[in-house]
Symmetry: C2
Subunit: 191 residues, 2 copies
DNA sequence: ACCACACTAGACCAGACGGTCTAGTTTCTC
DNA sequence: GAGAAACTAGACCGTCTGGTCTAGTGTGGT
């Protein structure tokens, strides 16, 4: 969850720039809400470049973007859990990061995958999003002990996070996100 | 939350048919994912009718659709809470209704407002969605006693519901929704 | 110097988009 | 039954969509 600046595109290769621009825009307007021309403008690249790097067009690019954020968050979770932190603490930390994300973008951008959920029905993109969620879920689940109860708690963790983000974005205030996640974290931590 | 069948459109007036068709489609594909022609086809009406009833076009129709579902759920919450049911129980009931909703549509349709979140930035539509969430939140909050802690719990209720729906739709299984909501309900009920 | 290759560049296309407009039809009112 | 108002009907328009295609440019190896 390091650097989503599309403002400094020159430092990245054009493929990375495309992914970064796409991710940022998709997180702000959802898959159907973003035109390819928007992405190209943000990445400052012509059409040819896109279809060279991503012959599959818009959807392949979106899948790459999803994969990128999925990896980033997954790695982050892994490293946090490796420090033997409690799951609730990690959840809270993630939530706070999402808050600053929301605030930085003036509540236009949705962290994680929320807005991408409005993706074409049976597509590979939907599959990619589903995979990402599964991976994150699994991180929490194993960190919580791998039991049946752990699975439940992991579900609550992710749901309260994604749901809270949605509430926060709509109300343009991080308050609701913080409240729901702290409460969830509280419950998750107790055994 | 009674009847979202677009299959029997003849029983409703054309304005209601438009709203029903629009709601159903928006819940399945999000605002930008639905073309006006899709809605007209589903409602079996020509373009003229739409722009007669909704001079504001797509967005005004979407706002009406949001208002419709907002009222329906709000009324439902009011009637449940009037029976002095515990908030956790009402939340669970709502969740189960969402589950059957998801299953009936083979996980194509998202209950409530989830997919509508990907709406144009500062629009009146976004405002309408925000209002709906506020009303639902307020129902839970007052039912929980109106305290600060009640507000927190209300946030968790709604977040776990919306987040759980998103998880469920992606995994094409109601399991994750049920798990997160039951856990949330458990926490909400205890004082 | 040569050439193969990775990449950029953007004109171009067919189709879909949201929205307007005029002409018709039904339905209500008196 | 006449006239007004509510509504239906769909042709039409300008714009924007995702995607293709050809031409060009830079860069590596040999």
């Amino acid at each position: 969850m390091t650097n989503h600046d599309v403002e400094t595109p020159t430092l990245m290769g054009s493929k990375e720039r495309l992914v970064a621009a796409a991710l940022s825009l998709f997180q702000a307007k959802g898959y159907h809400g973003v035109a390819i021309s928007d992405i190209l403008e943000a990445a400052d690249l012509p059409k040819g470049s896109l279809y060279h790097h991503f012959p599959g067009g818009k959807e392949e690019l979106a899948i790459a973007a999803v994969g990128f954020i999925a990896d980033e968050v997954d790695a982050r979770l892994a490293s946090e859990f490796a420090k033997n932190k409690r799951a609730g603490a990690v959840l809270l930390e993630l939530a706070h990061e999402c808050v600053s994300w929301l605030q930085r973008s003036d509540y236009t951008q949705t962290p994680l995958l929320g807005l991408l959920a409005a993706s074409p029905g049976e597509s590979a993109l939907t599959q990619a999003i589903c995979d990402a969620q599964k991976r994150w879920l699994a991180r929490f689940e194993t960190a919580l002990g791998g039991t049946e109860a752990a699975h439940d708690k992991a579900c609550l963790a992710l749901a309260s996070l994604e749901g809270g983000i949605s509430l926060a974005r709509m109300s343009r205030s991080s308050d609701l996100l913080i409240r729901s996640v702290t409460l969830a974290a509280l419950h998750i931590n107790q055994r």
